[in-house]
């Protein structure tokens, strides 16, 4: 497919969408300024930019959630102005959000046709017809799913496919995917990409939002970059090298993407022997099955593995998320450590950054200040009385050192951008003075600049003698940041790789169950 620079007319493929001179203000503040976006039939057009660059606002305008903007939107030859998401949907624009918006207890088929149920005369439902149609749509994408089962029984990846099928059932020509892979595992991502391939062939245009570089370059035909609400440019992915893309997004050069310095070795700080985390009732195998390892002060130990491999359960099990159900012996800073509860682990200088900040990382209604001190409040409240001055001072210091961008220390965390939310949660854990940090997807849903800051912070902490256990689904990040990598498969360690030996292939092989002899 020959590529087109910004502004030049589309030749062979039909132009599905053209947004021009889009301006949008909130309370007098311009959040989008003269933004341009074009989408051709059969292309994947990545919309890139940092958090807060205006990507979501642009999508909300396109999908009819915001109807008061300036500028023109043309669908094919028609100029349109959607006043509601329903209207946009009726015109063939579907948005698949990061968060799944299905009704859990309802069946797959019922979810797909929610609000447009097939009915017979007198309003009787026709479930059989609907199920058949749902099955047909799913099969077209190569999915075999029992459409009569509640959708919540399926993994997130399948739920996402159901959302896509729902979009297709509207005959949508334009499909927007907002970070669709953020909760998918590698094979699931592959399946999603295959489906995107099918959609392209059908002539759909796909607007794809992602923060993952690797993914952007795998899938993008063209890339449009926004920065601070302004249009930076559009270019064919092949002609936009990664360094250039980052410069477009950040507005400055980020010299080295992964700044990990070499680990020189320190005393063993955490030693885990024969750790077993039992699975739920009827589970085929324990979540974590007889795992032993040690981590040294100043070291970053990567825990690789596909979803369900048990790496996340390992961190949660050790931290006490599941209570005192884990077995095995653990020693922390030379003293035996008994897994009891998160509160107990915090007392022993452990910290866990979970992989889902909305579900269990932050308290969105509370201020930055209150979130920052939540895990260490006893430090600020001798005898239970909170010393506000001390608390606020600590908050200000933390906000400054982590470069949290917010109107004030008292802004609600729920209103911050993803990157800043993540920094607040990191700040909360730093406030407890941890010796071992468990970081489960610390850069998920975070923009490039903040990712880089988080890498730098990890270096600072390890330099100060902390140990880090790191889980990340971004392979380059894992390879670059971890000093050593344990690969897990079905709750067991299937490989241990040194920083120098580790390659993406070796990790994937081990993650998919090819047990090798433990090296080192």
């Amino acid at each position: 497919m020959s590529q087109i620079g910004p502004g030049s007319p589309a030749r062979s493929p039909e132009r599905l969408l053209l947004m021009e001179d889009i301006v949008k203000s909130f309370s007098g503040v311009r959040v989008l300024d003269s933004v341009r976006f074009e989408l051709l039939a059969g292309e994947v057009h990545v919309l890139a930019g940092e958090n807060g660059a205006g990507k979501s606002t642009l999508i909300k305008i396109l999908s009819g959630a915001y109807s008061d903007y300036q500028g023109t939107i043309r669908l094919g030859e028609r100029t349109v102005n959607f006043r509601s998401p329903q209207e946009a949907l009726a015109n063939g624009i579907s948005v698949i959000y990061q968060e799944i918006s299905l009704v859990g207890p309802m069946s797959v088929a019922d979810n797909i046709f929610l609000g447009r149920e097939t009915v017979r005369a007198a309003g009787w439902l026709a479930p059989k017809v609907q199920q058949q149609e749902a099955r047909r749509l799913l099969e077209e994408l190569g999915l075999e799913v029992d459409v009569t089962r509640p959708v919540e029984e399926y993994p997130v990846s399948v739920q996402q496919m159901v959302e896509i099928v729902k979009a297709l059932s509207y005959d949508s020509q334009i499909i927007v995917m907002d970070e669709p892979t953020s909760s998918l595992t590698e094979p699931e991502v592959e399946r999603l990409f295959a489906i995107i391939g099918v959609l392209k062939q059908r002539g759909c245009g796909i607007i794809y939002i992602s923060h993952k570089m690797e993914e952007i370059y795998r899938i993008a035909d063209r890339i449009t970059v926004l920065r601070d609400g302004r249009y930076v440019g559009t270019r064919a992915a092949a002609e936009l090298p990664q360094a250039e893309l980052i410069r477009w997004m950040v507005g400055r050069e980020i010299s080295q993407q992964f700044p990990r310095r070499d680990f020189s070795g320190g005393p063993v700080i955490l030693k885990v022997e024969h750790l077993t985390v039992p699975g739920g009732k009827g589970a085929a195998h324990p979540l974590v099955d007889d795992v032993s390892f040690e981590v040294r002060a100043g070291e970053i130990l990567g825990l690789a593995g596909l979803q369900g491999s048990g790496n996340s359960d390992l961190l949660n099990g050790l931290f006490g998320t599941f209570g005192a159900t884990v077995r095995g012996s653990v020693s922390l800073e030379g003293r035996p450590f008994e897994v009891r509860s998160p509160a107990h682990s915090i007392d022993r200088s452990l910290a866990l950054l979970t992989n889902d900040r909305k579900a269990n990382g932050m308290v969105p209604q509370m201020s930055i200040s209150h979130n920052l001190t939540l895990a260490s409040l006893e430090k600020f409240s001798a005898l239970g009385w909170i010393e506000s001055a001390k608390e606020i001072q600590a908050g200000r210091n933390r906000m400054e050192s982590l470069r949290i961008k917010a109107a004030s220390l008292f802004q609600e965390v729920g209103t911050l951008s993803g990157g800043n939310q993540q920094k607040v949660i990191l700040g909360k854990w730093l406030e407890t003075g941890p010796r071992v940090l468990f970081l489960d997807e610390p850069t998920r849903g975070v923009d490039v600049a903040v990712k880089h800051e988080i890498y730098e912070l990890m270096n600072q902490w390890t330099a100060a003698g902390c140990a880090i256990l790191l889980i990340t689904s971004e392979m380059p990040e894992l390879l670059a940041m971890a000093d050593r990598i344990l690969v897990m498969y079905r709750g067991r360690v299937s490989a241990e790789l040194d920083r120098r030996q580790a390659t993406q292939e070796k990790i994937l092989q081990a993650a998919m169950g090819e047990t090798s002899v433990r090296q080192t």
């Binding site: 007098g28 959630a65 998160p342 915090i346 308290v363 969105p364 409040l377 409240s381 239970g384 909170i386």
Partner: protein
């Protein structure tokens, strides 16, 4: 999904002011007071005594609403407050009038009973993961039954039945008079004063104490709180326990005002208490709210009831009007937030 209304062009300080929950709660109160000025029942609303009565009548509800606020901030609900009030009113009268206990011992015993009821609900919710609605519904039924059992279904008054079946009137214990006393030149009853102390106490708990902060954290995101080392179960037991304590306080005040312990006392009071909290603007979703909002809500409900009663609106119309006004007030609060 996505139903977000984009804020209009007005970005003035006024608009921002309107978004503050306190200002909204104040406005609700103001509207109700304005209603009073219009429907003043031939000047009755302008009499000082009307306002004094309003304060006296709403105080018991205000005390209940204090506890309800704490529970609602933890994202719970306490349906048992009316029944626990009834139970403690009966216990208070029984201990002090019939058994002639030392007054402060009586008070402490009632506090213990109320707090125990609340803590039991809290323990059911925290330990066995029973929904607050269900656990406190059960407590509501149980405590009402206990009140009837303890009192034998009779009102416990100064008429004490003798072994021979005749009634003998005993003297009203002094503590009753003390609670019914008026201070500041007859203008403020002790019960109202107690309500204000409760509000101040809740303010300290919510704004200054570590445990109060934990109430917000548990209500805002329970799992995040637990993983941050917050003792979630203890926080819940404490919140419901405090609610029970406030019920006991309200029950004692109610008994003092009525000079008897009625096992039927407090019927449907939980609904008024919830209405007060909601009209104040504290979110039923938890994690948000302040005690000042509840104080404003108490005044709003108090004036509403008073205005309806001085205008001699019949009970049937009064209930219907109250229902409608609650909805209007809540819709008003919801706008744009």
């Amino acid at each position: 999904m996505n139903g977000q209304i984009s804020p209009g062009p007005e970005n003035s300080k006024l608009a921002r002011l309107f978004r503050s929950p306190t200002v909204r709660a104040l406005l609700s109160l103001l509207v109700v007071v304005l209603l009073g000025l219009v429907f003043n029942a031939e000047g009755a609303f302008f009499k000082w005594g009307t306002h004094r009565d309003m304060l006296r009548q709403v105080s018991v509800f205000g005390i209940l609403a204090c506890g309800m606020t704490l529970v609602i901030i933890t994202s719970g609900i306490d349906l048992s407050v009316g029944s626990v009030l009834g139970l403690t009113a009966v216990l208070f009268s029984l201990f002090s009038i019939h058994l002639g206990w030392w007054p402060w011992l009586t008070v402490v015993a009632c506090f213990a009973a109320g707090a125990a009821c609340g803590a039991a609900s809290g323990a059911l919710i925290a330990r066995f993961n029973i929904q607050p609605f269900i656990a406190t519904l059960a407590m509501m039924v149980f405590a009402r039954g206990l009140a009837k059992f303890v009192s034998g279904g009779q009102k416990i008054s100064t008429a004490v039945m003798q072994p021979d079946g005749t009634y003998q009137y005993v003297e009203v214990p002094r503590i009753f008079d003390l609670l019914n006393a008026r201070i500041l030149g007859e203008n403020l009853t002790v019960v109202t004063l107690i309500m204000l102390v409760c509000v101040a106490g809740c303010y300290l708990v919510l704004a200054k104490l570590r445990w109060g902060r934990y109430f917000y954290a548990v209500g805002g995101n329970e799992e995040a709180a637990r993983l941050s080392g917050v003792p979630v179960a203890a926080v819940k037991v404490l919140a419901y326990g405090l609610s029970g304590f406030f019920c006991a306080l309200a029950g004692i005040c109610q008994a003092a005002q009525e000079l008897q312990g009625d096992p039927e006392a407090g019927m449907a009071y939980e609904l008024t208490a919830i209405a007060i909290v909601v009209i104040g603007g504290t979110s039923l979703r938890g994690g948000r709210g302040t005690i000042w909002l509840t104080l404003l809500g108490t005044m709003t409900i108090g004036y509403l009831e008073k205005i309806l009663s001085i205008n001699a609106v019949g009970e049937a119309s009064r209930l219907m009007l109250t229902g409608m006004i609650i909805i209007v007030a809540v819709l008003f609060q919801k706008r744009e937030s």
